[in-house]
């Protein structure tokens, strides 16, 4: 069987992580292709449902990347995101997916190298954890791929 390649969703704030990703690109920094980036107007856009949905739709890991604390363009979006990620962790533990599969990161738009580093970190972490329990069955060919809500 081929090596496990995780699917990781990165919810990136437009003002920091998303720009940092651009910068990483123009600096020709490599980061794993397992990261699927979704642009957000602010990390405060994230709510718990969005994170759970990503897992239901087949993600093995999720992270939210917002501005450095104190630097949110909408003042408190990243603090709210942090609390919501903590809540999502709790729910993911409760339902047996595992709270360690979701993380929150803070960086600024000028931190291209840090963006790549975070992507590597998350990639390695999820690789270590293995497929999400929902995808394990898929990996071993027992169930159809995880699909969205009905």
């Amino acid at each position: 069987m081929s090596e496990f390649q995780p699917k990781i969703v990165a919810f990136c704030c437009y003002y920091c992580a998303y720009s940092a990703a651009d910068l990483a690109g123009s600096m020709r920094l490599q980061y794993p292709p397992t990261i699927r980036m979704i642009e957000q107007p602010c990390s405060g856009r994230i709510d718990v449902q969005l994170i759970l949905q990503a897992f239901e739709d087949g993600a093995d890991g999720v992270y939210v990347a917002g501005c450095l604390e104190g630097d949110c363009h909408f003042l408190k979006g990243n603090y709210r995101a942090k609390l919501r990620v903590a809540q999502a962790k709790k729910i993911l533990d409760d339902v047996g997916i595992g709270g360690e599969r979701v993380e929150m990161f803070n960086l600024s738009g000028s931190m291209g190298p840090r963006f790549a580093e975070i992507a590597h970190e998350m990639h390695e972490k999820i690789k270590q954890l293995g497929p999400s329990p929902l995808n394990k069955a898929v990996a071993s060919g027992q169930l159809p791929a995880a699909s969205g809500s009905d």
Partner: protein
């Protein structure tokens, strides 16, 4: 409003264990405001249950609906079809809503998703406090608008007790409400009113007198 909080997820999951298709029913009133059983929480509950059950060999189908009020027949009438479709209804309303659902759909298994806590309000984001003990005979006009029935740990009507220290209660980590009543009565110049001894309360008007009813003949509709 009525304050409630979600039961531990594990408990709910266990109650739903034997069902394959459930209706998760939210309520748009108090439990929406106290972030326990509104549309958003219904969505989270549905997704959580699906995530859990997809890992086993018994996935679950979740129907989701949130109605104006679960404690009123006319709104429950609107979900008749959905209720029929589901094997059980997980009510995310307060205990009143759960009972109205159970009564309106007599052949359905109804599961409470919340623990109903108190009659109170939100004092700041994320914090809800009890304010009224539903005693059936309000005495707030005698206590400066602060309720000793619901907010004094000992429910005493002639306080404070000897355990009131620097504004704090000796029983629980709460502010001594009698200390606050004293201060409020001082501010409004009614301190002497507190010298009057409050006689024992008629608890038969509270829950102690059995289930209570309010009747208003004037608004009843006769066929």
């Amino acid at each position: 409003m009525i304050i409630a909080e979600q039961k531990p997820f594990e408990e709910i999951a266990r109650m739903v264990e034997i069902f394959d298709k459930v209706l998760i029913l939210g309520c748009n009133e108090c439990v929406t405001v106290c972030l326990a059983g509104g549309e958003k929480e219904v969505g989270l509950m549905a997704t959580s249950l699906r995530l859990l059950r997809k890992q086993g060999d018994r996935p679950i189908i979740t129907l989701e609906e949130t109605i104006t009020r679960q404690c009123e027949w006319e709104y429950l009438d609107q979900i008749e079809k959905l209720a029929e479709e589901a094997e059980c209804i997980i009510s995310m309303a307060c205990g009143v809503g759960v009972q109205f659902v159970a009564e309106r759909f007599p052949d359905k298994w109804v599961i409470p998703a919340l623990n109903t806590k108190s009659a109170g309000g939100s004092v700041k984001h994320g914090l809800w406090e009890e304010r009224c003990g539903l005693c059936g005979e309000c005495i707030l006009h005698k206590t400066g608008g602060l309720c000793p029935v619901a907010r004094c740990s000992k429910r005493i009507l002639n306080g404070p007790c000897g355990g009131s220290q620097n504004g704090k209660c000796e029983v629980k980590d709460v502010d001594c409400i009698w200390d606050q009543i004293y201060k409020k009565m001082t501010i409004i110049g009614k301190l002497e009113q507190l010298l009057e001894i409050e006689p024992e309360k008629d608890w038969s008007k509270a829950r102690d007198g059995g289930p209570r009813k309010v009747v208003r003949e004037d608004v009843m509709i006769y066929e």
